[in-house]
């Protein structure tokens, strides 16, 4: 239940920031959205299974589903890459000394 609230909070704040002015806020908003979605994917594996999928960890209860973890790991790296690209766009905008850099083309 609390997981759902956590996800909801992250997504809500992420959405709020994404709709604001200023590309930096947009980027941060996407980071938060990404966190929310990552948590969502992780819980798809079921939060009642919490053991590490590593040697020497038996006896900790059921082991967590490795598949969503792999998904999230991939997604985190991809999101990082795209975030870096967005920040590059921000840098490009700085060079052009724009007013509101969260604007699309004219």
């Amino acid at each position: 239940m609390t997981t759902a609230v956590v996800v909801a909070l992250l997504v809500a704040t992420g959405t709020w920031l994404v709709l604001r002015r200023g590309l930096l806020r947009v980027v941060v908003g996407f980071v938060l959205l990404g966190h929310g979605v990552n948590l969502l994917v992780l819980t798809a594996g079921g939060t009642d299974r919490r053991g590490f999928a590593l040697p020497g960890q038996q006896g900790q209860g059921p082991v967590a589903d490795p598949l969503p973890q792999a998904f999230v790991l991939t997604a985190v790296v991809i999101a990082f890459a795209v975030t870096v690209h967005l920040l590059g766009l921000l840098r490009q905008g700085q060079a052009l000394d724009e007013d509101d850099d969260a604007e699309g083309p004219a």
Partner: protein
């Protein structure tokens, strides 16, 4: 055979890596150009061979890692995938030829990026795993982000493009997670019919469909397309038009056909979206004032036609959608190639500053006329056969309002094409052209741009008169989608 399935993904990647590793001076480069055109053509050949093999209903597959079904990521070439790969690779080659004409390929990174993009496109069309689809779509999109940055029209277009697609990807990921959470699998083969069996799964897949709808530029999620596509160089616009939204629509078609299996309770929603897309797209196009803007807004409208075929949810509807997709990609690429030629020659594509090109460049005018007729759907072009097929499928299903929309939108498409014709080719050049500012063109149309434009226009004619092979292929592919003979 399974090695052939890997060719569209692996060969471009390797070629891109090799191109990056060598020392290259900026400017025109023969090896780059050869690789840029040769590799996609190689993929075309492989796809053609695969298509011939799959038309009877068989499929060719390659499971990555050799793991058992359900665990391994499987790339499967059925007729739909082969058609898609063939089309996209051919258009990739064509757009790189145009890039030689517009000098966009003087940028050393262009060809490697385009090759990676084409690998992503092919993979997205071939994969049967939803998460892998997510990753392949990202592989397709991220090079395009860089290509937009290369467009040199400022970061604004790039911002729009990247943020909207990032949002769509985030939603996609959430959808995949929800699908896994409700069904325990992300393999399409195992998800067949899941929507009917489990409403929760239907909602989860619905989220995925929303993400794909953004990438396909369906209304109301289409607003990013004209602004983004207007920010790239002309040859890259040709490339984008042939690849990006096609993947979105084909992926949407596949997920819809497999998971929902044409559920009537949801199909009406898809049809409504399709009709709305058709209408809004064409109206937006008619009101624009530059060649590229009109054409990119039209893309939204044509995607509406595709979605109509998908939404009809019958084998006839899918076949119509597939045929339409192939011929429309060719026609749109031809139109954008003509637009590229105009931009190079005149330095601008604003309708108010152009005119009288019909007399100066008769071949270009012919290419435009044929392609425009293909877009409107006038015989004997391929667009006509596609519209006929679509109209027949709609009438067969009894969707009269869809039929009416198809016809009405064609008429407005004609009006917008007339606007372009009158603005660019007919009449005469307005006198104030030179006073507008520093826009100057080269004064001539490079052959590297004219030849693809003409060739694509001729293709549209050929596909119209000799449409039977493609009709057969699309019907076979549609039958496969419905019956689910994916092994």
């Amino acid at each position: 055979m399974s090695a052939l399935v890997l060719v569209p993904v692996v060969v471009p990647l390797v070629a891109a890596a090799l191109l990056l590793l060598r020392r290259r001076r900026p400017g025109a480069d023969a090896l780059d150009r050869a690789a840029g055109v040769g590799v996609p053509l190689l993929v075309v050949v492989a796809a053609a061979v695969l298509l011939a093999a799959t038309l009877e209903g068989r499929t060719a597959g390659a499971a990555a890692g050799g793991w058992p079904d359900g665990v391994a990521i499987a790339l499967v070439a059925d007729a739909t995938a082969c058609l898609g790969v063939l089309l996209t690779s051919a258009l990739t080659a064509a757009s790189l030829v145009v890039a030689a004409g517009t000098r966009e390929d003087h940028e050393p990174l262009l060809v490697p990026l385009v090759l990676v993009m084409s690998a992503g496109v092919s993979g997205a069309l071939l994969t049967t795993d939803l998460f892998n689809l997510f990753v392949f779509v990202e592989v397709m999109l991220v090079p395009s982000y860089v290509l937009v940055a290369l467009g040199r029209r400022g970061p604004a277009g790039g911002r729009l493009y990247v943020t909207v697609n990032l949002l769509a990807s985030t939603v996609f990921l959430a959808g995949v997670g929800l699908v896994y959470g409700t069904t325990g699998t992300v393999s399409l083969a195992e998800l067949r019919g899941a929507a009917a069996a489990d409403p929760a799964a239907a909602v989860a897949v619905g989220v995925v469909l929303v993400a794909l709808a953004v990438k396909s530029a369906a209304v109301p999620l289409h607003s990013w397309l004209p602004g983004s596509y207007g920010a790239v160089g002309p040859a890259v616009a040709v490339l984008f038009s042939g690849l990006l939204t096609k993947v979105g629509v084909l992926a949407l078609l596949r997920v819809w056909a497999v998971v929902f299996e044409g559920d009537a309770r949801v199909a009406w929603a898809l049809l409504a979206v399709a009709v709305l897309t058709m209408v809004v797209g064409v109206l937006s196009a008619v009101g624009e004032g530059s060649v590229r803007a009109v054409l990119t807004n039209h893309m939204v409208s044509q995607i509406g036609y595709l979605l109509v075929g998908v939404g009809l949810a019958t084998a006839a509807g899918y076949a119509a959608a597939l045929f339409f997709l192939v011929q429309y990609a060719v026609v749109k690429a031809a139109l954008l190639a003509v637009s590229a030629a105009v931009e190079v020659r005149e330095g601008t594509d604003a309708l108010g500053r152009l005119g009288g090109l019909g007399r100066a460049e008769p071949l270009l005018a012919v290419a435009f006329a044929v392609a425009a007729l293909g877009l409107v759907g006038v015989p004997p072009t391929s667009g006509f056969v596609a519209k006929l097929q679509l109209a027949t499928a709609a009438a067969d299903s009894g969707s009269w309002w869809v039929l009416a929309a198809v016809v009405a939108v064609s008429l407005v498409t004609l009006v917008s094409m007339l606007k372009l014709w009158n603005g660019v080719f007919a009449g005469s050049r307005p006198e104030a052209a030179g006073a507008g500012g520093a826009v100057t063109g080269t004064g001539r149309v490079p052959r590297a741009v004219l030849v693809p434009a003409l060739a694509l226009a001729v293709c549209a004619l050929v596909l119209g008169v000799w449409a039977e092979p493609l009709l057969v292929a699309s019907e076979a592919a549609a039958a496969q989608l419905v019956a689910g003979s994916r092994s």
